[in-house]
Structure formats: C-alpha cells, structure tokens
Amino acid sequence: MELPEDRGRISESLFEVLRTYDPDVDLSGLEHEAFKVLDSEDILHSEDIQIVLFVLYELHYRGFDGIDARWEWNPPLLGLRAKIEEQFEARLRQIAGDPSFSLGSAQDTARQLFALASADDGPSVSTYISRHATVEQAREFLMHKSIYQLKEADPHSWAIPRLTGRGKSALMEIQFDEYGAGRPGAMHSELFETTMRGLGLDSEFGAYIESLPAITLASVNMMSFFGLHRRLRGSIAGHLAIYEMTSSIPNARYARGFRRLGFDSPVTDYFDEHVEADAVHEQIAGRDLAGGLIEQDPSIAEAVFFGAQAACAIDALVGAHQLEAWGRGRSSLRQPKVKVEA
C-alpha cells in the first residue's frame, strides 16, 4: 500500500523522514514532540499517534510502496516505536484493568476466558447489523474490519516460533484453518475480499486507511504490539482466545444482516464460514492454546489475561464508536466522504 496521509505534526515529520532512507536519522526531537502530544491526548484516540504506530508496525508486515525496507530494523525508528509503545501499553493496562484469574488446569483457564467473553453484554454492533444497518452502514462496518480482516490471523502468527508444546500445536491448528487449510483462495482474508467486492468496495489492503478513526487503528495496533513482543506472547494468545470466543454468534448475526440487505453467497461466505470455524477455534484457543500455555508455565497467566481483558476493552470502544455515530445518523468513518461504486 501507499504510505498514508499524515494526521498531525508527528506523522507529518515522520512520514517525511521515511521517504529517504537514513540509517543514522536523529528522531530525538520527534520523540519529545510525541510525548507532548500524548500529554494532552488519549493515545487510543490520538489520530496522529495511532497512524504513526500503524505505519511503524506495517513495516514488519508488507511495508509501503517506495519506502525503503531497511527502515524495519532501523535502530532510531525502533527506539521511537518503543517509547510510544510504553505509553500505549500503560493505557491498555488501564482500560483492561488488573488481570483477574485463578491458576488451574487448562479447562479452568478456558472456563474463565469464556466467562470473560460473555460478560460483555452491552449493545452490540452485530445486533445492529443484523436488524437495523443500512447498506451504507454495512459498507462502513466492512471498512473498519478490513484493516485487520485483510490480513486476518497475521498478528497472531508472530507468536508461532515463540511457543512450544501443546500451545503451539493449538495455535497451528487454528492458523492452518485461518489460512484456508492450504487451499488457494480459501484464506479467511480472501473470503473477506469477496465480501468487500460484493458491496462495491475496494479489497486492496489499506484502501480505506484514511477513513479509519484512531480507535479502529488502535485495535489492530494492539494486536501487532502483542504479536511482535515475545514478552507478550501470552497476551496475543489471550487476545486470540477472546477474539474466537466472541465470533460465532456475532458472525451469524452479520450473515443475517447482510441477507436482510439482499446479499447472499459468496458475499456472506465469510460470515457463514466463521460461525462454524470459530465454534471450533474458541474451544482450541481457550483450552489448548491459552490453557496449555498456562499449564506449561503458570507465570504466563498474567500476560494471557492482560491480553484477553484488553481485547474485550478495545472491542467495546470500537463498537461504541460505531454505534454512537450510527445512532446519531452520522458516519462512523473519519472522513464521511468515501467514494463507493455500488
């Protein structure tokens, strides 16, 4: 994808720097500026900082057209990211609350995670999509989701070489399914492309980046943050467990909503597939992945439940943002003007 537009003075300076590779770039001034921005803005809602984080993480996935690939491991850039991450983590720990769990068997872990996933029973985007959403709102919903779903499963794959034993086998079993079990065209990200195209949307990764508000970016930045830090391998596992446990039932609602709006297979395939797949994945992720990791090393439980609780908290914020906008008859996108060819 192209480097996105800047959203403030930090992203403006940084994106300018990225256009010409400089191994010895001095970013100390920018770091200082970023701290000033964060003195007055909530990092979860800071457009400037979240687009910066998104770009810094994306260098580890697929990079940007015309941007030197060596930036991925440039020490000053990694230093800047680490400083921002300190603040991001502190804020995530705040919204997640102290990890709350009791140590036990893998089944005990699964039971606690299922309880956490079902505790959130506020108004849901899935119910709204199922009953009320217009086609335009359904498109917005897909745009928000696209920044993760078009690289679905990738952030969790960073954890694979960092795990061993039962937890690793469990993660592989889930990821194999996410990536289409080796069948070309069947990756979940590819099913999502079909859904997007069915609604007249561009299915290129990042096509709608300019329309996505900070909180949507924060939800995917959180996954990259957990995934890229071995220290937080438990957190990306806990995130996956919650993600899978809050998927089958909402996806059945999305499928109903899109059918209500007149769409059917192959547009609805993504949702239908997830009803069946995630009823399997949630069992494996809770018991064998998260539970298996904790059984193997109880000291990882804190990280697992931090990731799980942060996943619930961020998901609630992302959902609230969309529902609030739609409730007021407004667009939930950053820039309401998005060209769509229906």
Binding site: Q107, R111, F114, S118, E173, F176, D177, A181, R183, A186, S247, S248, I249, A252, V275, E276, A277, D278, A279, V280, E282, Q283, I284, R287
Partner: protein, 67 residues
Amino acid sequence: MSAEGAQIVVCPQGPLILRGDFEILDAEGEAVPTSRETVALCRCGSSAIKPFCDGTHKLKKFEMPRD
C-alpha cells in the same frame, strides 16, 4: 493425540471436538460435507448448523448431565 484414528474431546458445557481420521454420515448414510479437518459437533441441540456447533450453547446456559 494418538498416532492413528480419531480423537474426540468432550468440552464441558460445549461441543465435541472431533479431529483425526473420521467420516460423518447422516441418517441415510450420506456423508455430511465439511471443509475442515477438525470439527465441533453440537451437543446442546440448539445449533442452527447441526450436526456442527455454532456457539449457541453459550446463550442457552446448556448444562450437561456430567462433565
């Protein structure tokens, strides 16, 4: 998992997870198509995609006779 055959995991308050070498047949002996190698079979009776689980047991507070 054992080297051969199939394995069934009994999930408390949840489905049966089935992995390995298996075939699912309906009452007429016809194969039930599935695209995945590990499946979850509904045990609460409320799934809309039986014989597979769709997570509905979580809404029904389904209790099993014994875990």
